[in-house]
């Protein structure tokens, strides 16, 4: 089982796209370490040949007709999804320039 240390927490934070302050790392090392230590009890369970249960239902999923619908629009006819976006330009979502 993994040794939970500063480096591992930093790596997981990076993978999670989370920015941690230096002061936060120690707390997460302790709390995540404690939780995983508890979770490690699962190694005691014999699960040989047990099919994992990833979903909440066994039945096959219900599919709906694949059909294009108008996106809900506001009173002026603009798509509502854009109305509440953080930043919009020419009917698209605007983000800062991220490639040179």
């Amino acid at each position: 089982m993994a040794d939970i240390n500063d480096a591992l927490i930093r790596k997981v934070a990076e993978l999670s796209r989370l920015k941690l302050e230096d002061g936060e790392i120690g707390n997460y090392v302790i709390s995540i370490g404690e939780i995983l230590n508890h979770v490690n009890q699962l190694t005691r369970v014999n699960t040989d040949g047990v099919e994992p249960m990833f979903y909440g239902i066994d039945d096959s999923l219900r599919l709906r007709e694949d059909r294009v619908r108008e996106f809900p629009a506001d009173e002026e006819g603009n798509p509502k999804i854009l109305k509440h976006a953080p930043s919009v330009e020419d009917g698209g979502f605007k983000v800062p320039q991220i490639v040179g």
């Binding site: 089982m1 989370l18 709390s31 009890q41 190694t43 239902i57």
Partner: protein, 489 residues
């Protein structure tokens, strides 16, 4: 406390002209604004008053003073909606800074069905951020206070819902339950909470925490009201592919029959899982549950000991699966299409840095769970954590299937203790997670479960009894709960 506690009493008062949807709705807003509980994050007062006025006029003219109970079972009933469910044009925050300005363009199916049935939405109820918590202390909008003991927590994550129902800040509320988030606050606040079978109620418009576990359900003052609300919300929805087409019984009528029939529990086999009656249960909680079991016996039920041998692994299994799903679900909060985008994010030099600036708005518990989930799904650890937990989940479901061959329903405490003090467990996440030890197994197995008030401790804090039934057997829960109601406190 409003003297009208149930849907039926309110409808009778409408029929008799003693009240109407508008004056009732106005009286709730007055109470909410005077309340110290911090139960609501956002009120939709204009929208609600408009709904209420239309209903008031319809009652007078179209329906000639008689509430159309059959076509509109929730006619003029003011509800609170947990802020994890979207409503078109109404701010939906999930109690997170990340969504503090999010105004969704669509309404959750569950909310829509309630409103079509005549319900009035008063506002959006406080909760733990992204429904992650057992005390409602993880809200970016501040903790919710317990309805009667302001130094205590209401339970979580649907803490606003529990307090609002108990403190008469709505007639009934919607909560959501991933590992106990309806049942725990219902128990702590002394109200009824029903988590239906996974797949019963559409999750469309429920901001996802752990999709294989999340389920919407009612929190109410009476068992009958829980049945009425659940019935209105249940059934197939094309927008949630996991919804079931199993027939939905008239659960309000199920409760009415059971209440009138003192022999309705005769021959019912009630399972007592030995693993749920462990050391560490508060003695007052234990004796209240034992009294309730004696009551069920006196009603003709047969009490049968059962065993759920993998119960000790429930919290571990749950926390691996729930955080793994959460880390994936919460990756959508990237500040591009909706939600908050802080100023600093616009100065980012890379997309990764942009995401990190946006996601710095998550609270500490949410960050912890995203990291735990990312870890459990990461290369090298996936097999040992996520896959292993999913295998143990299958074994836990097998435990239930075996036990339900010899019983119709199982009972236990909802939680080992009554409502604890604000701050008591906030510094120790593992202790907080263990609060849910009795509610988690039914969630993992997708079973319907319920919390019903069965007493109070010496401090006056409510004690809830936990009922678990086989999949799609909500009627059994409601039948048992309706016999327990008001008899054991």
């Amino acid at each position: 406390m409003n003297s009208l506690t149930s849907i039926r009493e309110i409808h009778d008062s409408f029929d008799e002209g003693l009240s109407d949807p508008l004056s009732l709705t106005e009286s709730f807003f007055t109470r909410i604004k005077e309340s110290p509980h911090n139960a609501y994050i956002t009120l939709c007062e204009d929208r609600a008053l408009k709904q209420a006025e239309v209903l008031r006029l319809n009652l007078k003219t179209k329906f000639q003073g008689k509430v159309p109970r059959a076509s509109h079972p929730l006619f003029g009933i003011p509800l609170g909606i947990k802020d994890v469910l979207t409503m078109d044009g109404i701010r939906t925050t999930c109690a997170s800074k990340v969504l503090q300005n999010y105004i969704p363009p669509f309404t959750a199916t569950a909310v829509e069905r309630l409103e079509v049935a005549g319900a009035i939405s008063l506002g959006k109820l406080n909760m733990d951020e992204f429904a992650m918590g057992s005390s409602n202390e993880n809200s970016a909008f501040g903790p919710v206070l317990h309805p009667t003991h302001p130094d205590r927590v209401p339970g979580g994550s649907s803490g606003g819902s529990g307090t609002a129902v108990a403190a008469d800040l709505c007639v009934a509320a919607l909560g959501t339950d991933t590992g106990g988030s309806i049942r725990l606050p219902a128990s702590f606040c002394g109200v009824v909470g029903l988590k239906p079978t996974y797949g019963r109620i559409s999750r469309y418009g429920q901001i996802a925490f752990a999709s294989s576990l999340d389920q919407i359900g009612p929190m109410t003052r009476t068992v009958r009201d829980a049945g009425v609300l659940a019935k209105v919300m249940a059934g197939v929805d094309p927008f949630d592919s996991t919804t079931s087409d199993r027939p939905v019984e008239d659960w309000g009528a199920v409760v009415d029959h059971a209440r009138l029939d003192s022999g309705s529990l005769k021959g019912l086999r009630v399972g007592i899982p030995s693993e749920y009656f462990i050391d560490g249960i508060d003695p007052e909680v234990r004796s209240a549950i034992e009294r309730a079991i004696e009551f069920l016996k006196s009603e003709g039920a047969a009490v049968v000991p059962v065993s759920l041998p993998h119960t000790q692994y429930a919290v571990s299994t749950y926390y691996v699966i729930a955080v793994s799903e959460a880390s994936s679900n919460l990756s959508r909060f990237d500040g591009v299409r909706f939600g908050m985008r802080p100023e600093e994010a616009m100065k980012s030099s890379s997309l990764t840095d942009f995401y990190k600036q946006v996601r710095s708005l998550f609270g500490a518990e949410v960050k912890r769970r995203i990291m735990l989930g990312t870890f459990a799904l990461s290369s090298g650890y996936f097999e040992a954590y996520y896959r292993k937990a999913a295998q143990v989940r299958r074994l836990m479901r097998g435990d239930f299937e075996r036990a339900f061959q010899s019983v119709d329903v199982m009972v236990s405490p909802v939680s080992p203790t009554t409502a604890f003090k604000l701050g008591e467990k906030a510094k120790n996440p593992l202790q907080m997670y263990l609060t849910d030890i009795f509610t988690i197994p039914a969630s993992l197995a997708g079973l319907p479960a319920m919390s019903v008030p069965v007493g109070k401790d010496q401090l006056g804090l409510s004690i809830g009894m936990h009922l678990i039934a086989p999949r799609f057997e909500e009627s059994t829960l409601l039948r048992v709960a309706s016999r327990l109601e008001g008899k054991t406190s």
